[in-house]
Symmetry: C2
Subunit: 436 residues, 2 copies
């Protein structure tokens, strides 16, 4: 089957990430989608930038209209942003019967009702997983994964810039202005940060989630939006003392008389998982009447995390254009004839770190004997604690954390350690994962 032909509008940060991810993971993506997905044409006003990313692997032009009008293009990926030209291009693409994938939350929050109606009329899809929380599949989770539930509320940290600023203000006791400057230096905040710090970006995303959660049209103009620019470090500290963290939260709730739709700085109990989402990360907490609370966490921005969502949408569309409906999504994600028979490794070949505890006699030289055994097997020690023996005892615990090693090594070490006459018991061994 010939590849699905994608036309890419805009090859900036996310566009570049999309191009890169599709190329790098081409083989896995094809195994999942059942058909190759290829960006065949890229439109960008900055031809030099576009060419440096594309490197002759697709046609590069500066006329976006030529892409949406190209009969050879099956899917248009709109990553230009903004609500003017992007809207016109998108509507034209839909009118021409093309599916559209977009990350444009501002456009959807403000003109989604019109855009979806146009798509519906033409029997095509507008996919927009990348519009909310970057690579976190929150749209799919809300729209499909939680389809059994009456959604009660959604609360999300959905603007990484603001969350980074608040995390830094708390950790360093710094002022808003100082942290904002630092965020701009690190590339986490734009030169004009208004959309991020005043809650507008979060309100766009919240509007989209509310529509999906509650089955209501987009109503961005009714959203309440209050940013973080007036927050003081004193309030952050007082909140901390009372057991709370302050986060810029988007909250939408179903009430008897209507729906709350609001973005504002919010105190959250520090013990909640979502209160511990730090830096530029995003998290969305959803409460459904059947499932209770579920949370979705990950990078909310950046080239490849956002591209992850764009490409997932491309796979979604491709699966629909390819498979018989019953097998649109293969049981094991990959097409059944494209599973790979990779072996499962025996435990002896698994590589991880270890916690070791041994009961030893409290004599000089014990530690030297034990560490020598580990060193001889190439196992290095990350941390060690030797407990004081209890009153009247002549035995004591040694606890060690090792760096990564292969399990057969640690087993060999343990056998040798247990054979030492000063070691009074079996060694307790628990595996350790940094998950970093």
């Amino acid at each position: 089957m010939k590849p699905i032909s994608v036309g890419l509008l805009g090859i900036g940060t996310v566009g570049g990430g999309t191009f890169t991810v599709l190329e790098r993971n081409r083989e896995e993506i094809t195994r999942r989608a059942g058909r190759a997905i290829a960006i065949t044409v890229v439109a960008d006003k900055d031809l030099a930038r576009a060419n440096s990313v594309v490197q002759n692997r697709a046609r590069v032009i500066d006329d976006a209209w030529a892409v949406v009008n190209d009969p050879a293009v099956d899917i248009v990926v709109e990553l230009i942003g903004g609500t003017k030209i992007a809207k016109d291009l998108m509507l034209k693409a839909l009118e021409n019967g093309k599916h559209v994938v977009t990350a444009n939350k501002a456009l959807l929050a403000q003109h989604g009702n019109e855009i979806f109606a146009a798509a519906q009329k033409k029997g095509v899809m507008v996919a927009f997983e990348a519009a909310v929380a970057g690579g976190v599949p929150i749209i799919k989770s809300l729209r499909e994964g939680l389809a059994a539930n009456r959604i009660e509320w959604i609360a999300g940290i959905i603007n990484g810039t603001s969350n980074f600023i608040l995390s830094e203000m708390r950790d360093k006791g710094a002022s808003f202005d100082d942290v904002l400057k630092q965020a701009q230096k690190l590339g986490y905040a734009e030169a004009d940060p208004t959309f991020d710090i005043e809650g507008v970006d979060a309100a766009h995303k919240l509007t989209i989630m509310a529509a999906i959660g509650f089955g209501i049209p987009m109503q961005f103009s009714a959203a309440y939006t209050e940013g973080i620019s007036k927050l003081t470090r004193e309030d952050i500290q007082y909140a901390e003392q009372l057991g709370y963290r302050i986060k810029l939260l988007g909250v939408t709730k179903r009430k008897a008389n209507g729906i709350e739709l609001r973005v504002h700085p919010t105190l959250i109990p520090a013990r909640r998982l979502i209160a511990n989402v730090e830096g530029v990360m995003n998290a969305v907490l959803v409460r459904g009447d059947a499932v209770g609370q579920t949370m979705y966490y990950g990078a909310g921005a950046g080239a490849e995390p956002t591209a992850s969502a764009v490409v997932a949408d491309l796979v979604d569309v491709a699966r629909t254009m390819t498979a018989d409906p019953e097998h649109r999504v293969p049981h094991l994600a990959f097409q059944p004839d494209r599973l790979s028979n990779v072996p499962i490794l025996p435990m002896s070949e698994v590589e991880t770190s270890y916690y070791l505890r041994l009961l030893v006699q409290d004599k000089t030289g014990v530690l030297a004997d034990v560490t020598r055994i580990l060193a001889d097997l190439g196992i290095s020690i990350d941390a060690m604690v030797q407990k004081e023996p209890s009153e009247g005892e002549d035995q004591t615990d040694i606890i060690m954390l090792t760096h990564q090693t292969v399990e057969k090594n640690i087993n060999a070490a343990i056998a040798k350690i247990e054979a030492l006459p000063v070691v009074a018991s079996k060694v307790t061994r628990i595996r350790l994962e940094e998950l970093g």
Copy 2:
């Protein structure tokens, strides 16, 4: 269009939850699926139990074979469990051209390859979101939401019983045996808890996630499984002192020479979000090459959380049997002609709690004046801190947390408070959400 007819095999905890959720949310589910989904027949050996749940809203029989052979049944929901009769029934249902929805992780981990092949041959689906992490849509997220990624590893707390036991051992310094007894009393552990505490249940779920993440066949027999029954409170405390938590983790990693597939107690840095998942909750951390780390959190068991996943699968199947492929999933989750025009509430009608900070003169009676204003407006105070004035200052901060109230009330209170002569500045007001 006539409702999709579902035959339910087994109406125990999850089956009962499924029946209840489908009934209670019938209207919303129909708006999402584009067609009503009705359980028309229930098979259970315990007719009395079945009848008490069903209450004449469906046919109740004791012969599961009659359900899988019933030409009027479109989808069979298998909630019997186990790997013998459940397997035979499922294969028969598939042979008869019926879609199957199941929560049976043991069956899929051990016989999934055979079952999926049978489904593929007949052009029907086996949906199994409920098999891993209860209501958390982790199967959909891995299979569709992260389809752009080369998955590097998956690490999950996927057995609530074990996680509850470990949380309690840490919090209370209790022994494994004592906490297990308590868990059994609370209904968090079964009379024979082997599958949960020895890691077998987690290994079933991990096997399924590894297959989907890496595109490999199910290889449960090659999984390494070690439970928590030998963990001591001493090791939990030592780990804590070193900055780690011990969790029963399912870990699967792609390595150059094969795939690691292992369940065992694991030290995790305490600062990681997943290390703070407590009690019976589940969480799965996935690392993809494009998206980085994403995490999925929620209830991993229980009647309605698991039913949430079963019914989501029913909606998934129903959408495929109903919609034109392009609009299988409506843009806004609900069918476009079934959106509701619920109003967005003005901010004055929003109900939440508040943090208030006011700078006051350090005089007697100030607090009485302020609290009187709040009381008169029916606003009750949850916590209050009055700071000592700094050396040489005669002004000080009062911080108050209120209980829930409507925003127009708090605004009225603030106006009155600011009018008090002893109040020296504007009142700082930040909203507070318990997210409980």
